[in-house]
């Protein structure tokens, strides 16, 4: 009996409720049930659904605007000067580095000055500069185009493994099992997230399907390499965060899922975004390279018939009694210029929309990770409250102990 009383009192000294209370237990159970129902996933799902709708809408808008520009450009093909100017501007844009594109858009507004710089020789020079840049990239891929990419991919995997090692050290106190979150250990969770971040097989597969024959292929490989490098930098920064966590005091909101899990989740999201961006850019590079070749052919065809920034109207040239070969060159050049008009700025505009949507999607998914962390903490809190109020000595237990201590039926007389 003394031991029993001591046991009960010992609990009380720590502020622990000893006697079971059905009302509080019910509230604890309700807290646990309510916490279990908290979920922001429907909001996230709807956000992603809305983003898909917006992406479709914006891409449709861009395609419509592109179609209109194409119609307008075609209508403007009255003189060879105008045709040449349009082709020159489009071709220069494709030769240019991203910094130069804006400048070209400004320069073209001053026709007289712009036209003077659009000689066949000047364009050939710009083409050489462009090809030199591509050649440098090609040379980098020459020793086996996949070697560099595979090397970068291996680096990513090594860095991901480093994060996993740190997760193991940080989450598993010496001699203890790693803490569990939602049925899986933090380690396994981090492993899955880092594996996902370092999994660039799809990009490598795409890279593997490319040759280094065309400039577009080389540029696409360059885009993929850039993407892999960015992924590496991202994983590096996460590694840095991990290092800085060492020695930092414990988060007071210790129920929130581990920093390791959050960091790994965010890493996976950003890695997905970068991979998507890389794929978009690589594919665009291939398309634009094809367009560049068409425009170069256009310049060559117009130059052959001496109509590159030539005098006169297109219609009168087509009516003239030129040779069959010249006629074919003229008509071919107009078709090739039209190809430029079809493309105009649409690929870049669509790329921008896709990238912007990918960025926004990453924000939504990042929010979802944080929300899930809160939800997990609240669910655990609910479960703990339920466990606390569900515990305690129940009337039946007290009765059983007293009955046992009373030695069967002798106690009722004493008690009542």
């Amino acid at each position: 009996m003394r031991a029993f009383i001591l046991f009960l009192l010992a609990g009380n000294l720590f502020g622990q409720r000893i006697l079971y209370n059905q009302t509080l237990d019910k509230q604890g159970q309700e807290a646990s049930a309510a916490a279990g129902r908290i979920a922001s996933q429907p909001v996230t799902d709807k956000e992603l659904q809305n983003l898909a709708t917006i992406a479709k809408q914006q891409i449709d808008d861009d395609l419509q605007a592109g179609y209109l520009t194409m119609c307008t450009e075609l209508q403007s093909y009255e003189t060879w000067e105008i045709v040449s100017r349009k082709v020159c501007k489009n071709l220069r844009t494709l030769y240019a580095t991203s910094d130069q594109v804006f400048l070209i858009n400004v320069q073209v507004t001053n026709h007289a000055v712009f036209d003077r710089t659009c000689t066949v020789e000047a364009l050939a020079k710009e083409r050489l500069a462009f090809e030199a840049r591509t050649d440098a990239l090609r040379a980098a891929f020459a020793g086996g185009r996949m070697t560099r990419l595979n090397h970068l991919s291996d680096e990513l995997k090594t860095k991901a493994a480093q994060i996993r090692n740190k997760a193991e050290v940080n989450t598993k106190p010496a001699g203890q099992e790693a803490p569990k979150t939602a049925g899986a250990t933090v380690e396994s969770w981090v492993k899955s997230a880092t594996d996902r971040a370092a999994d660039v097989d799809q990009l490598l597969e795409f890279a593997g399907s490319l040759g280094i024959h065309t400039d577009g292929e080389v540029k696409a490989l360059g885009q993929i390499e850039d993407g892999l490098k960015q992924l590496g930098a991202l994983i590096d920064s996460v590694n840095g965060i991990w290092d800085s966590y060492k020695g930092v005091s414990v988060d007071p909101r210790s129920l929130v899922p581990s920093r390791e899990k959050l960091a790994a989740s965010l890493l996976a999201i950003d890695a997905d975004r970068l991979k998507e961006q890389t794929a978009i850019r690589a594919r665009n590079a291939l398309y634009l390279d094809d367009l560049r070749l068409r425009l170069q052919d256009c310049v060559a065809a117009l130059d052959r018939v001496h109509l590159w920034f030539g005098p006169g109207e297109v219609e009168s040239s087509l009516r003239n009694n030129a040779s069959k070969a010249d006629h074919i060159d003229m008509i071919l050049a107009l078709h090739l210029a039209t190809a430029g008009a079809v493309a105009n700025v649409t690929p870049q505009a669509v790329e921008l929309v896709r990238e912007s949507i990918a960025d926004r999607r990453a924000v939504v998914r990042r929010d979802a990770v944080y929300n899930a962390a809160y939800e997990r903490a609240l669910q655990i809190a609910g479960q703990r409250l339920a466990a606390y109020y569900g515990a305690g000595v129940k009337p039946g237990q007290v009765a059983a102990i007293l009955y046992y201590l009373a030695g069967m039926v002798s106690l009722p007389k004493l008690a009542f």
């Binding site: 009960l8 009192l9 609990g11 009380n12 502020g15 622990q16 409720r17 000893i18 006697l19 209370n21 509230q27 309700e30 807290a31 129902r37 908290i38 922001s40 909001v43 709807k46 659904q49 809305n50 917006i54 809408q57 914006q58 808008d61 419509q64 605007a65 209109l68 119609c71 209508q75 909101r253 129920l255 939504v364 929010d367 944080y370 929300n371 809160y374 903490a377 609240l378 809190a381 609910g382 703990r384 409250l385 606390y388 109020y389 000595v393 009337p395 039946g396 007290v398 009765a399 059983a400 007293l402 009955y403 069967m408 039926v409 106690l411 009722p412 007389k413 004493l414 008690a415 009542f416």
Partner: protein, 211 residues
């Protein structure tokens, strides 16, 4: 019964002050409010994003509409010029030719005049409305607030009385079961013991089925 009341102060100690649990509930409620704020902010940010996207789309649509007509005029002028010059169409019917364009322009004008005042509305209507599960969060908040409230002495006394009553009931059941077991034992108890047990059974108000 007196003995049961004698253990009442002792029981008071056993209910504990629940200090840690109430504090835990309070902190959990703080976390819940923070979470709610996060969700609200997220929905507000998404809604602002949708509004911007819809405004851009509406502006783009307006621009495309204007430029489409511009392109149409240019294209038709070019066609008609060639048709008139090459005698494919009679010049005297130029008004009829203009009419086809006028119809097109009028259709657009009609659409503009009858459209929603807020040009972004049609784009926004295609999106799913975001809303947090406020009812669930409010319910949880209410429970946590209850649990975070320190319990009054009156509540505690009532709880203890209820606990004692329940314990007594449970105890009575055990006693009655014990008596019934002894009365029904094999071999049966002798007459004196059986009478004592029956008297005890009566005093304990055991239900008839016990024996």
């Amino acid at each position: 019964m007196k003995a049961w009341f004698a253990i009442l102060p002792f029981c008071a100690l056993l209910t504990g002050c629940d200090g840690r649990a109430t504090e835990f509930a309070r902190q959990a409620d703080e976390l819940l409010r923070e979470y709610q704020k996060r969700i609200d902010d997220q929905i507000a940010a998404a809604t602002a994003y949708y509004q911007r996207a819809a405004t851009i789309s509406a502006a783009q649509a307006e621009r495309v509409g204007i430029e489409t007509l511009q392109a149409e005029r240019s294209e038709r002028a070019s066609h008609l010029e060639a048709d008139y010059r090459e005698n494919r169409k009679p010049v005297s019917l130029y008004r009829s030719d203009l009419r086809t364009y006028a119809d097109l322009d009028f259709t657009r004008l009609k659409a503009e005049l009858t459209a929603d005042v807020d040009a972004s509305a049609p784009y926004l209507s295609q999106l799913v409305t975001l809303e947090s599960n406020r009812a669930v969060i409010d319910a949880f908040d209410k429970i946590l607030k209850n649990l975070a409230q320190p319990r009054s002495i009156r509540d505690e006394v009532n709880d203890i009385q209820q606990f004692i009553q329940n314990s007594k009931t449970e105890y009575g059941k055990l006693v009655c079961d014990g008596i019934a077991k002894q009365l029904n034992a094999t071999p049966p108890p002798d007459a004196d013991k059986a009478n004592t047990l029956k008297a005890l059974q009566k005093s304990q108000k055991c239900p008839a089925k016990s024996n």
